[in-house]
């Protein structure tokens, strides 16, 4: 282990990572590793990572340096432009990777065929290298040539089918959720391989991570569910078995917006009835299972909504949480979260200034270590660091 490890304080100090992956999954993996101390060299083609062209933009005029998606996913990195599609560029890329610990790429089967990139060409020059290939479906199997998008991933991963109203179109999660989830698993894959290499003397390796497997792993119940098909339930929590939940586990309206009530246990249902002043509901067995008696769910929704009609979300949140010990939360909008006192007290966000995009508020790494949030620095401009790495 190099001695610099002992002098620095972040877990991945001294680890050098090269990424050619674009968009969200690979770049988010590298961003996470960068916030933990690794040096991240982002290799971009001359036209730049495709996410640079993804709206919304922070600048009205410069649409290469102001995409919110790019700015967020590439904090703390250096940008080096290499056109690895030609032989001179590929030579430069291989040189750069020779001294790296980790290489993150997103070349699927067709890209590998088109550019003649096999899984050995980087490892043969650097046997200690950990190469992570992140693709939607992987390099083999019936879907390995399929086209993807967040909507497609959510559909095949069994998540889309769980979101939305029972009789209506199943709904996607906003933004790029499958890509982010895969990004976290990307960081996990790399850290496990580094552990193996650095503490057990294993060599480097080529690792293949897929979005579809990441999503398939995130169902709460076993997929067979005793032969039951899990149903989407709109503003309610989707049942995990044929038993379902009691009423009151739902998203319903207060005076100034919506509230989500969690639950599922008899104790919570009792507390809810106490809060509503409706202990009579406990005596009525229609309310034991909202999925067997959908009417009962609607009745309780109405009782809750009239109880909250003159109360703000903040008032309901405080009363239900602190007096009745109910798991409950306001449905907050993005702008409201930026003003929220709990998030502010945790320093959940930080302001970062970019020379073109200006100042914006970014989520910090999502944990505190010994009470501190780790800081990240701005994302790079296209090719800003090319001269430092390529002569």
């Amino acid at each position: 282990m190099p001695s610099e490890y002992f002098e620095n304080d972040l877990p991945l100090d001294g680890i050098k990572i090269v990424e050619t992956a674009q968009g969200v999954s690979g770049p988010y993996a590298a961003k996470l590793l960068g916030s933990l101390g690794a040096e991240i060299i982002k290799v971009e083609l001359p036209e730049g990572d495709w996410s640079r062209k993804a709206p919304p933009f922070l600048s009205e005029t410069n649409h290469t340096e102001s995409s919110a998606l790019y700015l967020y996913n590439n904090t703390g990195k250096k940008s080096v432009v290499i056109d690895w599609r030609n032989s001179e560029g590929l030579h430069d890329l291989k040189n750069l990777i020779k001294s790296a610990d980790v290489f993150i790429e997103d070349w699927d089967r067709s890209a590998r065929t088109k550019w003649n990139l096999n899984s050995e060409i980087f490892l043969e020059d650097n046997p200690q290298l950990i190469e992570l290939c992140i693709t939607p479906f992987g390099l083999y199997g019936p879907y390995s040539n399929y086209k993807s998008s967040p909507l497609i991933q959510l559909a095949l991963g069994g998540i889309l089918n769980l979101v939305g109203n029972p009789e209506q179109e199943p709904l996607m999660l906003p933004g790029n959720q499958p890509d982010y989830l895969t990004g976290i698993n990307g960081s996990n894959s790399i850290q496990i391989a580094l552990w193996d290499r650095d503490f057990f003397g294993e060599s480097g390796k080529f690792l293949e991570l897929t979005m579809m497997e990441t999503l398939a792993n995130l169902h709460q119940a076993p997929l067979d569910m005793g032969g039951v098909i899990r149903q989407r339930s709109g503003h309610r929590q989707s049942p995990l078995s044929s038993n379902g939940f009691p009423p009151g586990v739902c998203t319903v309206s207060a005076k100034d917006g919506y509230m989500t009530f969690g639950g599922g246990s008899p104790v919570i249902w009792e507390q809810l009835c106490l809060m509503l002043g409706r202990l009579d509901l406990l005596e009525d067995d229609r309310f034991d299972n909202v999925f067997e008696n959908p009417e009962s769910g609607l009745i309780v929704d109405q009782i809750m909504e009239s109880w909250m009609a003159e109360k703000t979300r903040e008032e309901v949140f405080e009363e239900a949480s602190s007096i009745w010990m109910l798991p409950v939360s306001p449905v907050k909008k993005i702008n409201e979260i930026l003003e929220d006192k709990q998030y502010a007290s945790r320093h959940a966000f930080q302001k970062i200034t970019h020379p073109v995009a200006g100042e914006a508020t970014y989520p910090s790494p999502t944990f505190t270590a010994n009470g501190e949030k780790l800081e990240v620095s701005r994302s790079p401009m296209l090719g800003e660091h090319t001269k430092e790495y390529i002569w």
Binding site: P11, P55, P56, A68, L71, Y72, N73, Y140, G141, Y143, N145, K147, L151, I152, A155, G158, L160, N161, L162, V163, G164, E169, L171, P174, G175, N176, I184, N185, A193, L194, W195, K205, L207, M212, H219, Q220, L223, G226, I229, T251, Y258, G262, P327, S329, P330, V331, K333, I334, I337, Q342, A348, F349, E359, A360, T361, P363, T366, F367, A369, N370
Partner: protein
């Protein structure tokens, strides 16, 4: 030694994790560590049976040992402190006051293990105005903003229905434990991590915060519509609750789709460019659904993908279990329980040096490893073990 092998294979072998977590986020994260060979010792309350309803606990607690221990009794707390003294990592997801009441805070645990790595997974964080409020994955997701963007119409947000803050937090737990366990191995320094459920989804919504803070940009619930492209959504297919997702994001894909549908109404010159298609989204969606509604979703996916069109059957849980791609890739795991046949569970999405599959084992029963843990790992005499058993401190 316990009757199962927790030490001989996988990249994380020799990492010993004391796991106090319950429900989903915590157990999902510690399961991942266990799948890679970490020795995860799940600490359960002897009074609370491990529910087998829906096999949710079975799914999330494979490859972990189980000790049943009364933390609320002084003798049980002493056993726990001994366990912590031989562990590397402690993870818990109680409400903050529970750990204080049990007097097993990080400061206390440092007295028996000065370089302990510990992670707490509270709902909203260990400090701050909401810190004592109860939270679940379903309410933490509401707090984090994701619900405000899900729904059919702008003024009616819906929940994900699947407690989305939990799985993200489970993945984040692995990330942060690996990082600080590495640092601990190198520097000998422990750490205390506060990983709040309500913080995790912020990380997967980053672009929305960046854009909103700078320009006021907002996204209201709007079905599956894409801000620029059409068609983008799920369309009814033949059968009960059968759908196909289609996600057109460039001109080539649109041309290919138009060829397949072969409906003269889609030839309108208005639909030549993106903005024209966006302006006529309802009409295009209706024509498309007329076409998809008599077709089989799985066959249609294959046909459309063959033409380079991003399309996918909307799979339910059983479809995922039987999915030809996942099965071909040998994604699933098969666990042999002692009483029943082999059961098919999800595998491990993270590639690398996992615990050897032949050594994977199903969830252990409540207290199944209590005796071997206290006698072999903690060096208690048989007499001491039996007296703890008799007092009801362990089971």
């Amino acid at each position: 030694m316990p009757a199962v092998d927790t030490v001989s294979s996988g990249a994380l072998r020799h990492l010993r994790v004391i796991d106090l977590t319950r429900v989903w986020a915590g157990p999902l994260g510690t399961r991942t560590l266990a799948d890679f060979g970490a020795e995860v010792i799940k600490v359960s309350d002897p009074r609370i049976p491990l529910s087998r309803v829906g096999k949710i606990n079975d799914k999330l607690n494979r490859n972990k040992l189980n000790i049943a221990l009364r933390l609320d009794k002084p003798e049980g707390r002493d056993v726990f402190l001994d366990l912590v003294s031989v562990g590397d990592v402690v993870i818990e997801n109680f409400r903050p006051r529970v750990m204080r009441n049990l007097d097993i805070t990080y400061e206390k645990l440092l007295e028996v293990n000065p370089n302990l790595l510990m992670c707490s997974m509270p709902g909203f964080g260990l400090a701050g105005p909401y810190s004592e409020y109860p939270a679940f994955g379903s309410t933490a997701e509401a707090m984090s903003g994701i619900n405000s963007m899900i729904g059919y119409v702008p003024d009616r947000p819906l929940q994900t229905g699947l407690s989305y803050a939990d799985p993200i937090s489970g993945l984040n737990l692995v990330n942060v434990i690996l990082a600080f366990a590495r640092r601990r191995s190198i520097t000998g320094k422990g750490n205390f991590i506060d990983l709040a459920l309500a913080d995790s989804p912020l990380g997967t919504l980053g672009e929305f915060f960046v854009a909103n803070s700078a320009t006021g940009y907002k996204q209201d619930p709007n079905g599956n519509r894409h801000s620029q492209y059409t068609p983008h959504g799920a369309f009814r297919c033949f059968g009960d609750d059968q759908w196909i997702a289609i996600s057109i994001t460039n001109h080539f894909q649109w041309e290919q789709l138009k060829d397949k549908v072969n409906d003269s109404r889609l030839e309108s010159p208005e639909y030549e460019d993106i903005s024209g298609r966006k302006a006529n989204e309802e009409t295009i969606n209706r024509i498309l659904e007329e076409w998809t509604s008599s077709r089989d979703a799985a066959e249609l996916m294959e046909e459309l993908q063959h033409q380079g069109i991003p399309a996918a059957k909307v799979s339910n849980n059983l479809d995922v279990l039987n999915d030809p791609h996942l099965n071909k890739r040998e994604y699933f795991s098969f666990l042999k329980s002692s009483v029943k046949d082999i059961e098919k569970y999800d595998g491990q999405a993270i590639p690398g040096n996992q615990k050897e599959r032949s050594k994977w084992f199903p969830m252990r029963n409540l207290g199944e490893d209590s005796s071997s843990i206290v006698m072999e790992y903690l060096g208690y005499s048989k007499y001491k073990y039996l007296s703890l058993l008799k007092q009801g401190v362990i089971s």
